[in-house]
Symmetry: C2
Subunit: 120 residues, 2 copies
DNA sequence: ACTATATTTAACCATATGGTTAAATATAGT
DNA sequence: ACTATATTTAACCATATGGTTAAATATAGT
Protein backbone atom coordinates (compact mmCIF):
# COMPACT_ATOMS: atom_id res chain seq x y z
CA UNK A 1 0.00 0.00 0.00
CA UNK A 2 2.98 2.29 -0.52
CA UNK A 3 2.16 5.38 -2.51
CA UNK A 4 5.27 7.51 -2.00
CA UNK A 5 7.00 8.90 -5.02
CA UNK A 6 10.36 7.78 -6.28
CA UNK A 7 11.55 11.36 -6.06
CA UNK A 8 10.98 11.24 -2.34
CA UNK A 9 13.17 8.17 -2.03
CA UNK A 10 15.85 9.98 -3.98
CA UNK A 11 15.83 12.85 -1.52
CA UNK A 12 15.75 10.59 1.52
CA UNK A 13 18.65 8.38 0.44
CA UNK A 14 20.64 11.40 -0.71
CA UNK A 15 20.07 13.02 2.67
CA UNK A 16 21.27 9.88 4.42
CA UNK A 17 24.42 9.71 2.30
CA UNK A 18 26.24 12.26 4.43
CA UNK A 19 27.76 11.41 7.83
CA UNK A 20 27.09 14.87 9.23
CA UNK A 21 23.42 14.54 8.41
CA UNK A 22 23.20 11.03 9.81
CA UNK A 23 24.81 12.30 13.00
CA UNK A 24 22.28 15.13 13.15
CA UNK A 25 19.43 12.66 12.83
CA UNK A 26 20.99 10.49 15.52
CA UNK A 27 21.21 13.51 17.77
CA UNK A 28 17.60 14.44 17.12
CA UNK A 29 16.48 10.93 17.88
CA UNK A 30 17.19 11.69 21.53
CA UNK A 31 15.04 14.80 21.46
CA UNK A 32 14.66 18.09 19.69
CA UNK A 33 17.54 20.55 19.60
CA UNK A 34 18.33 24.06 18.46
CA UNK A 35 20.53 24.74 15.47
CA UNK A 36 23.57 25.77 17.52
CA UNK A 37 23.23 22.67 19.65
CA UNK A 38 23.20 20.54 16.53
CA UNK A 39 26.19 22.39 15.12
CA UNK A 40 28.30 22.10 18.25
CA UNK A 41 29.90 18.67 17.69
CA UNK A 42 31.01 19.51 14.17
CA UNK A 43 34.12 21.32 12.98
CA UNK A 44 32.05 23.23 10.50
CA UNK A 45 30.53 26.67 10.15
CA UNK A 46 26.94 27.41 11.09
CA UNK A 47 25.91 28.12 7.49
CA UNK A 48 27.12 24.65 6.57
CA UNK A 49 24.84 23.20 9.24
CA UNK A 50 21.96 25.36 8.02
CA UNK A 51 22.46 23.82 4.59
CA UNK A 52 22.48 20.30 5.98
CA UNK A 53 19.28 21.06 7.87
CA UNK A 54 17.80 22.32 4.62
CA UNK A 55 18.62 19.03 2.91
CA UNK A 56 17.10 17.07 5.79
CA UNK A 57 14.02 19.26 5.83
CA UNK A 58 13.48 18.97 2.06
CA UNK A 59 13.73 15.20 2.44
CA UNK A 60 11.02 15.48 5.09
CA UNK A 61 13.31 14.04 7.76
CA UNK A 62 13.23 16.98 10.14
CA UNK A 63 11.13 20.04 10.69
CA UNK A 64 12.11 23.35 12.16
CA UNK A 65 9.83 25.18 14.51
CA UNK A 66 10.42 28.82 15.17
CA UNK A 67 10.68 29.64 18.84
CA UNK A 68 11.69 33.21 19.40
CA UNK A 69 15.06 33.84 17.86
CA UNK A 70 15.94 30.19 17.90
CA UNK A 71 14.67 27.26 15.90
CA UNK A 72 13.87 23.97 17.46
CA UNK A 73 14.51 21.07 15.11
CA UNK A 74 12.92 17.71 15.52
CA UNK A 75 13.07 14.39 13.82
CA UNK A 76 10.37 13.38 11.33
CA UNK A 77 11.07 9.70 10.86
CA UNK A 78 8.14 9.13 8.50
CA UNK A 79 10.13 9.09 5.25
CA UNK A 80 12.49 6.53 6.73
CA UNK A 81 9.61 4.12 6.57
CA UNK A 82 9.61 4.00 2.81
CA UNK A 83 13.40 3.91 2.67
CA UNK A 84 13.33 0.99 5.04
CA UNK A 85 10.68 -0.82 3.10
CA UNK A 86 12.65 -0.36 -0.11
CA UNK A 87 15.73 -1.91 1.47
CA UNK A 88 13.76 -4.62 3.28
CA UNK A 89 12.73 -5.89 -0.12
CA UNK A 90 16.29 -7.16 -0.49
CA UNK A 91 16.55 -8.67 2.95
CA UNK A 92 16.37 -12.24 1.63
CA UNK A 93 19.44 -11.53 -0.47
CA UNK A 94 21.69 -10.89 2.47
CA UNK A 95 20.00 -13.16 4.96
CA UNK A 96 20.03 -16.28 2.86
CA UNK A 97 23.67 -15.56 2.15
CA UNK A 98 23.22 -15.60 -1.57
CA UNK A 99 26.17 -13.26 -1.80
CA UNK A 100 29.73 -14.00 -0.85
CA UNK A 101 30.41 -10.60 0.75
CA UNK A 102 27.72 -11.00 3.36
CA UNK A 103 29.06 -14.42 4.16
CA UNK A 104 32.58 -13.08 4.49
CA UNK A 105 31.44 -10.34 6.85
CA UNK A 106 29.48 -12.84 8.94
CA UNK A 107 32.56 -14.98 9.34
CA UNK A 108 34.74 -12.05 10.33
CA UNK A 109 32.25 -10.89 12.92
CA UNK A 110 32.21 -14.29 14.62
CA UNK A 111 35.97 -14.50 14.44
CA UNK A 112 36.21 -11.24 16.36
CA UNK A 113 34.52 -12.87 19.37
CA UNK A 114 35.68 -16.48 19.38
CA UNK A 115 38.93 -16.36 17.40
CA UNK A 116 39.63 -19.98 18.31
CA UNK A 117 40.31 -20.90 14.71
CA UNK A 118 43.78 -21.10 13.23
CA UNK A 119 42.52 -20.84 9.69
CA UNK A 120 45.19 -18.39 8.59
CA UNK B 1 27.96 -5.28 17.13
CA UNK B 2 28.16 -3.21 13.95
CA UNK B 3 31.69 -2.43 12.85
CA UNK B 4 31.16 -1.15 9.34
CA UNK B 5 32.71 2.12 8.41
CA UNK B 6 30.74 5.29 8.01
CA UNK B 7 32.33 5.78 4.61
CA UNK B 8 30.72 2.60 3.45
CA UNK B 9 27.29 3.81 4.51
CA UNK B 10 27.95 7.04 2.63
CA UNK B 11 28.62 5.13 -0.57
CA UNK B 12 25.66 2.80 -0.13
CA UNK B 13 23.11 5.52 0.56
CA UNK B 14 24.53 7.68 -2.22
CA UNK B 15 24.24 4.75 -4.61
CA UNK B 16 20.61 4.23 -3.58
CA UNK B 17 19.77 7.90 -4.11
CA UNK B 18 19.36 7.48 -7.84
CA UNK B 19 16.25 5.93 -9.42
CA UNK B 20 18.20 4.39 -12.30
CA UNK B 21 20.48 2.62 -9.88
CA UNK B 22 17.60 1.44 -7.70
CA UNK B 23 15.94 0.08 -10.83
CA UNK B 24 19.15 -1.71 -11.78
CA UNK B 25 19.32 -3.32 -8.35
CA UNK B 26 15.67 -4.31 -8.65
CA UNK B 27 16.40 -5.88 -11.99
CA UNK B 28 19.39 -7.76 -10.62
CA UNK B 29 17.34 -9.07 -7.73
CA UNK B 30 15.61 -11.34 -10.20
CA UNK B 31 18.90 -12.74 -11.46
CA UNK B 32 22.14 -11.66 -13.01
CA UNK B 33 22.19 -9.72 -16.27
CA UNK B 34 24.57 -8.35 -18.84
CA UNK B 35 25.28 -4.66 -19.19
CA UNK B 36 23.19 -4.22 -22.35
CA UNK B 37 20.29 -6.02 -20.73
CA UNK B 38 20.48 -3.69 -17.78
CA UNK B 39 20.70 -0.67 -20.04
CA UNK B 40 17.76 -1.63 -22.20
CA UNK B 41 14.87 -0.14 -20.17
CA UNK B 42 16.56 3.25 -19.86
CA UNK B 43 16.57 6.16 -22.27
CA UNK B 44 20.23 6.67 -21.64
CA UNK B 45 23.52 5.91 -23.33
CA UNK B 46 25.57 2.84 -22.51
CA UNK B 47 28.42 4.86 -21.00
CA UNK B 48 25.93 6.38 -18.58
CA UNK B 49 24.93 2.89 -17.49
CA UNK B 50 28.58 1.90 -17.17
CA UNK B 51 29.01 4.80 -14.78
CA UNK B 52 26.00 3.79 -12.73
CA UNK B 53 27.37 0.27 -12.53
CA UNK B 54 30.66 1.75 -11.34
CA UNK B 55 28.89 3.58 -8.54
CA UNK B 56 27.01 0.43 -7.53
CA UNK B 57 30.19 -1.61 -7.67
CA UNK B 58 32.17 0.86 -5.57
CA UNK B 59 29.37 0.75 -3.01
CA UNK B 60 29.77 -3.01 -3.00
CA UNK B 61 26.20 -3.52 -4.20
CA UNK B 62 27.00 -5.39 -7.39
CA UNK B 63 29.92 -7.21 -8.91
CA UNK B 64 30.79 -7.70 -12.52
CA UNK B 65 32.11 -10.96 -13.79
CA UNK B 66 33.82 -11.09 -17.11
CA UNK B 67 32.37 -13.70 -19.45
CA UNK B 68 33.84 -13.46 -22.89
CA UNK B 69 33.13 -10.10 -24.39
CA UNK B 70 30.24 -9.54 -22.07
CA UNK B 71 30.04 -8.86 -18.37
CA UNK B 72 27.54 -10.52 -16.14
CA UNK B 73 26.48 -8.32 -13.26
CA UNK B 74 24.99 -9.65 -10.07
CA UNK B 75 23.56 -8.25 -6.91
CA UNK B 76 25.68 -8.14 -3.75
CA UNK B 77 23.09 -7.30 -1.12
CA UNK B 78 25.56 -7.44 1.77
CA UNK B 79 26.03 -3.68 2.20
CA UNK B 80 22.25 -3.24 2.34
CA UNK B 81 22.38 -4.98 5.66
CA UNK B 82 24.18 -2.14 7.37
CA UNK B 83 22.05 0.44 5.59
CA UNK B 84 18.98 -1.39 6.82
CA UNK B 85 20.26 -1.65 10.35
CA UNK B 86 21.05 2.06 10.39
CA UNK B 87 17.52 2.91 9.36
CA UNK B 88 15.93 0.26 11.59
CA UNK B 89 17.39 2.15 14.52
CA UNK B 90 14.73 4.77 13.88
CA UNK B 91 11.88 2.36 13.43
CA UNK B 92 10.31 3.25 16.77
CA UNK B 93 10.08 6.85 15.61
CA UNK B 94 7.77 6.10 12.75
CA UNK B 95 5.98 3.12 14.26
CA UNK B 96 5.01 4.72 17.54
CA UNK B 97 3.85 7.74 15.60
CA UNK B 98 6.00 10.14 17.56
CA UNK B 99 6.07 12.36 14.54
CA UNK B 100 3.18 14.23 13.04
CA UNK B 101 4.09 13.50 9.42
CA UNK B 102 3.91 9.76 9.85
CA UNK B 103 0.58 10.18 11.60
CA UNK B 104 -0.69 12.43 8.85
CA UNK B 105 0.30 9.91 6.19
CA UNK B 106 -1.33 7.09 8.12
CA UNK B 107 -4.58 9.02 8.30
CA UNK B 108 -4.53 9.84 4.62
CA UNK B 109 -3.88 6.25 3.72
CA UNK B 110 -6.92 5.10 5.73
CA UNK B 111 -9.02 7.95 4.38
CA UNK B 112 -8.28 6.74 0.89
CA UNK B 113 -10.10 3.51 1.68
CA UNK B 114 -12.89 4.43 4.12
CA UNK B 115 -13.40 8.19 3.61
CA UNK B 116 -16.46 8.10 5.92
CA UNK B 117 -15.32 11.05 8.07
CA UNK B 118 -16.56 14.60 7.66
CA UNK B 119 -13.78 16.14 9.76
CA UNK B 120 -13.34 19.13 7.45
C1' DA C 1 42.92 -11.01 -40.81
C1' DC C 2 38.35 -8.73 -40.93
C1' DT C 3 33.96 -7.52 -39.07
C1' DA C 4 30.50 -7.19 -35.67
C1' DT C 5 29.23 -6.91 -30.92
C1' DA C 6 29.83 -5.65 -25.92
C1' DT C 7 31.65 -2.68 -22.97
C1' DT C 8 34.68 0.86 -21.26
C1' DT C 9 37.47 5.07 -21.43
C1' DA C 10 38.29 9.88 -22.55
C1' DA C 11 36.92 14.39 -22.94
C1' DC C 12 33.55 17.29 -22.25
C1' DC C 13 29.41 19.83 -20.18
C1' DA C 14 25.80 21.53 -16.91
C1' DT C 15 24.27 21.24 -12.52
C1' DA C 16 24.47 19.72 -7.60
C1' DT C 17 26.93 19.38 -3.30
C1' DG C 18 29.46 20.70 0.64
C1' DG C 19 32.17 23.88 2.30
C1' DT C 20 33.76 28.89 3.20
C1' DT C 21 33.32 34.11 4.80
C1' DA C 22 30.69 38.37 5.10
C1' DA C 23 26.41 40.42 5.54
C1' DA C 24 21.53 40.33 6.62
C1' DT C 25 17.62 39.30 9.52
C1' DA C 26 15.00 38.48 13.65
C1' DT C 27 14.41 38.43 18.27
C1' DA C 28 15.88 39.09 23.31
C1' DG C 29 17.54 41.86 26.80
C1' DT C 30 18.86 46.31 28.43
C1' DA D 1 17.02 52.69 20.55
C1' DC D 2 21.19 49.79 21.19
C1' DT D 3 23.54 45.50 21.72
C1' DA D 4 24.03 40.66 21.77
C1' DT D 5 22.60 36.21 20.18
C1' DA D 6 20.62 32.82 16.79
C1' DT D 7 20.08 31.76 12.39
C1' DT D 8 19.86 32.43 7.46
C1' DT D 9 21.14 34.36 2.99
C1' DA D 10 24.42 35.72 -0.55
C1' DA D 11 28.36 35.09 -3.08
C1' DC D 12 31.83 32.35 -3.89
C1' DC D 13 34.82 28.05 -4.62
C1' DA D 14 36.34 23.21 -5.48
C1' DT D 15 34.83 18.90 -6.38
C1' DA D 16 31.24 15.36 -7.44
C1' DT D 17 27.49 13.72 -10.25
C1' DG D 18 24.96 12.40 -14.21
C1' DG D 19 24.69 12.92 -18.66
C1' DT D 20 26.66 13.27 -23.63
C1' DT D 21 29.51 11.74 -28.05
C1' DA D 22 33.64 9.77 -30.09
C1' DA D 23 37.16 6.58 -29.72
C1' DA D 24 39.34 2.56 -27.70
C1' DT D 25 39.43 -2.20 -26.25
C1' DA D 26 38.29 -7.02 -26.10
C1' DT D 27 36.27 -10.92 -27.75
C1' DA D 28 33.31 -13.70 -31.11
C1' DG D 29 32.41 -15.26 -35.51
C1' DT D 30 33.71 -15.63 -40.23
Amino acid sequence: MVKYSDANLDAVFAALADPTRRAILARLSSGEARVTELAQPFAMSLPAITKHLGVLERAGLISREKDGRLRRCHLDAGPLREACSWIEHYRQFWETRLDALSQYLEENESKEESDGNSTG
